[in-house]
């Protein structure tokens, strides 16, 4: 079954139209679109994007494999990113990272929880050094996260809730965040 068909194909054409004369620039938002449908990017999706842009699958794959926010393997409903770079490390991020594993019932080094609810990602600097340790759930910011708060955030996800972030709106899932990243959601007025 095709990934980009029906309304998704319409969305894809809208994305390509952002770059008249330079359609290849649409690769990244198209990858986000595919990710918003499947929850991760399958080989079928790579092939279809290549077809849409008149490129080879290898050319699309070369881009998809370069960037960490494109996921090419099964991924949790929610992606929890925990920064352990220096500013966050100095404020206890390594303990927060451990606490996330414990709360999600995951072994060290395990990326996807057994129930496929959560993907844990050790992050490089998220640009929230002023509120370290920094955590993102589906790329929405949670500031000054302690080990207790980290456990509570994971518990909330397990209870089917998406906790309110410190700033901006919550994104209900990794798929939802990917759709916003593709530039396909209406942005509410200020």
């Amino acid at each position: 079954m095709a990934v980009l068909e029906g309304p998704a194909l319409e969305d894809a054409r809208k994305i390509v139209a952002r770059y008249p004369g330079h359609e290849r620039s649409a690769i990244m938002p198209l990858l986000y679109l595919a990710q918003s449908i499947g929850g991760w990017i399958s080989r079928d999706a790579l092939r279809e994007i290549a077809g849409l842009l008149d490129l080879t699958t290898a050319e699309v794959e070369s881009v998809a494999t370069f960037y960490t926010m494109f996921r090419l393997r099964p991924t949790g409903t929610h992606v929890v990113s925990i920064c352990t770079n220096l500013s966050c490390k100095l404020r206890g991020a390594e303990e927060v990272y451990e606490a996330a594993h414990e709360a999600a019932g995951m072994a060290h080094g395990q990326e996807l929880s057994d129930d496929e609810l959560v993907t844990l990602h050790e992050e490089e600097c998220l640009g929230v050094c002023d509120f370290a340790p920094a955590v993102q759930i589906n790329f929405a910011n949670h500031d000054n996260v302690t080990t207790d708060r980290m456990r509570a955030l994971i518990e909330a996800l397990r209870a089917g809730e998406v906790p309110d972030p410190t700033r901006g709106p919550a994104f209900t899932s990794f798929k939802h965040a990917s759709r916003v990243l593709a530039g396909l959601e209406e942005v509410p007025s200020s």
């Binding site: 960037y67 220096l86 500013s87 490390k89 600097c125 998220l126 050094c129 929405a140 709106p169 200020s190």
Partner: protein, 432 residues
């Protein structure tokens, strides 16, 4: 801000109303663009040159000169690309600048577009700034609606369009030629220069790439003049600078300072001193890519020249503060892991060098350091510096060389004692 400084970039930070276009215009916004529309493109470049504004993204290159390099009448379109990929560890001022006043960025970008007679501006925002990208997207929509963007910018008959493009998690895309490749739908790997982007940048056309903070200084320069801009800062580093201070301080955050303000003032007056009154051990002046400094450098001025004289760099003015309970070897290991993870893989020096350095540093930190590991690290720092394809690897080398320069005894103690002297668990084990 420091007590004697009139805030510039942060003057509306306490006013949530400044986020919307109406609130921005009420506070005098878009006056710089109005002034620019009455000027010839060459005159816009001249006033920015005269202001002495230097790029705030790390390299400190004079902005007006960068714009002046764009050739005229090539028959190709020209492009302005806003570098909102802010990813240098410890740096988050662009994030807050945009969250609080997104229209100042658009105004600066449109003025840059007028200066190089460009019709299309791209804003490249790092993927992880999901919300901040939405703030920009909303500001773009408002600016179109109110006639500050589109076919007829402020009734001038000039067309300027702005397109938001999202990255996907790659530090290297803050390097301007890697960013261009990413925007063109390629892997984000840097390009050989020359040709420089001013001549052959995006889509092989003349392109100006500027950092968010750089562009946000431009509206005031157009409205108030170059002399006004130079009233603050030093002769060679005029204006204000956003600094991010984080780590072991009482009040981490983004602050605006006059360039040249001593580190001591930022640490003690703005950040409230060391966390819990601890003792300062080491600090980075401009993100993890800039050589570490120590408590001996408390009175160094935060500007391009003073920091260069002290053996470091202003970089992004991202100060990360370590106290005497933090192990410099462990901190260096974590910083080098970042470069190993973010190396784009294009050149051997960086790809292999950073990976190998993480192995040696981890071994030293864990107490398995070999007798020749410390000299090996010193060699490695020298062998990487300035020998890679782009500046990313220089960050790796800066961490290694500067931590060894100031804290060689700490490295040696790890090797001779066979443990981290600051690791409480290791201390307990030895005691029992």
């Amino acid at each position: 801000v420091t007590p004697d400084l009139e805030p510039r970039l942060t003057r509306h930070w306490s006013e949530p109303g400044a986020v919307s276009i109406d609130g921005y215009v009420e506070r005098g916004g878009y006056a710089g663009l109005r002034a620019a529309l009455a000027m010839a493109p060459g005159d816009i470049i001249d006033i920015v040159k005269a202001s002495g504004l230097r790029g705030r993204g790390g390299a400190g290159f004079p902005t007006g000169m960068k714009w002046g390099f764009v050739p005229k009448d090539t028959g190709k379109p020209t492009y302005v690309v806003v570098n909102f990929d802010e990813s240098e560890p410890g740096t988050c001022n662009n994030r807050e600048l945009v969250e609080r006043e997104p229209h100042r960025l658009l105004e600066g970008a449109v003025i840059a577009a007028l200066a190089i007679q460009c019709r299309t501006v791209f804003v490249y925002v790092r993927g992880e700034y999901l919300w901040q990208g939405m703030v920009v997207q909303r500001a773009i929509a408002e600016a179109y609606e109110k006639g500050y963007l589109g076919a007829d910018v402020m009734g001038s008959g000039t067309r300027v369009d702005v397109v938001l493009h999202r990255g996907a998690g790659a530090y290297i895309c803050g390097e301007e030629t890697a960013l261009l490749n990413s925007l063109e739908g390629l892997r984000g790997q840097p390009r050989l220069r020359p040709p420089f982007p001013a001549v052959e940048g995006l889509y092989a056309s003349p392109t100006v790439i500027n950092n968010v903070e750089t562009l946000m200084n431009v509206p005031d320069i157009l409205e108030r003049g170059a002399d006004w801009f130079r009233e603050v800062g030093t002769e060679k580093s005029p204006g204000t600078k956003m600094v991010t201070i984080s780590g072991k301080v009482e009040r981490p955050g983004n602050y605006e300072i006059a360039l040249g303000t001593p580190f001591r003032v930022v640490l003690e007056e703005l950040a409230g001193g060391m966390l819990g009154g601890a003792t300062l051990k080491a600090w980075t002046p401009g993100g993890s890519s800039t050589p570490l400094l120590t408590a001996d450098h408390l009175d160094v001025g935060l500007d391009y020249e003073s920091l260069a004289a002290a053996g470091s760099l202003l970089g992004t003015a991202a100060i990360m503060v370590m106290d005497d309970t933090d192990c410099v070897v462990d901190c260096a290991r974590r910083m080098v892991e970042f470069y190993a993870h973010e190396s784009c893989g294009k050149c051997t020096t960086c790809r292999e060098g950073s990976w190998w350095a993480t192995r040696v540093l981890a071994r030293i930190e864990q107490g398995y350091g070999r007798d020749d590991d410390v000299p090996v690290m010193a060699e490695m720092g020298k062998n990487i510096m300035f020998k890679a394809f782009c500046a990313l690897a220089d960050g790796t080398a800066a961490v290694i060389s500067s931590s060894l320069k100031h804290f060689q005894a700490d490295f040696e103690a790890h090797v001779t004692e066979g443990r981290c002297p600051l690791d409480e668990r290791a201390v307990a084990e030895v005691a029992s």
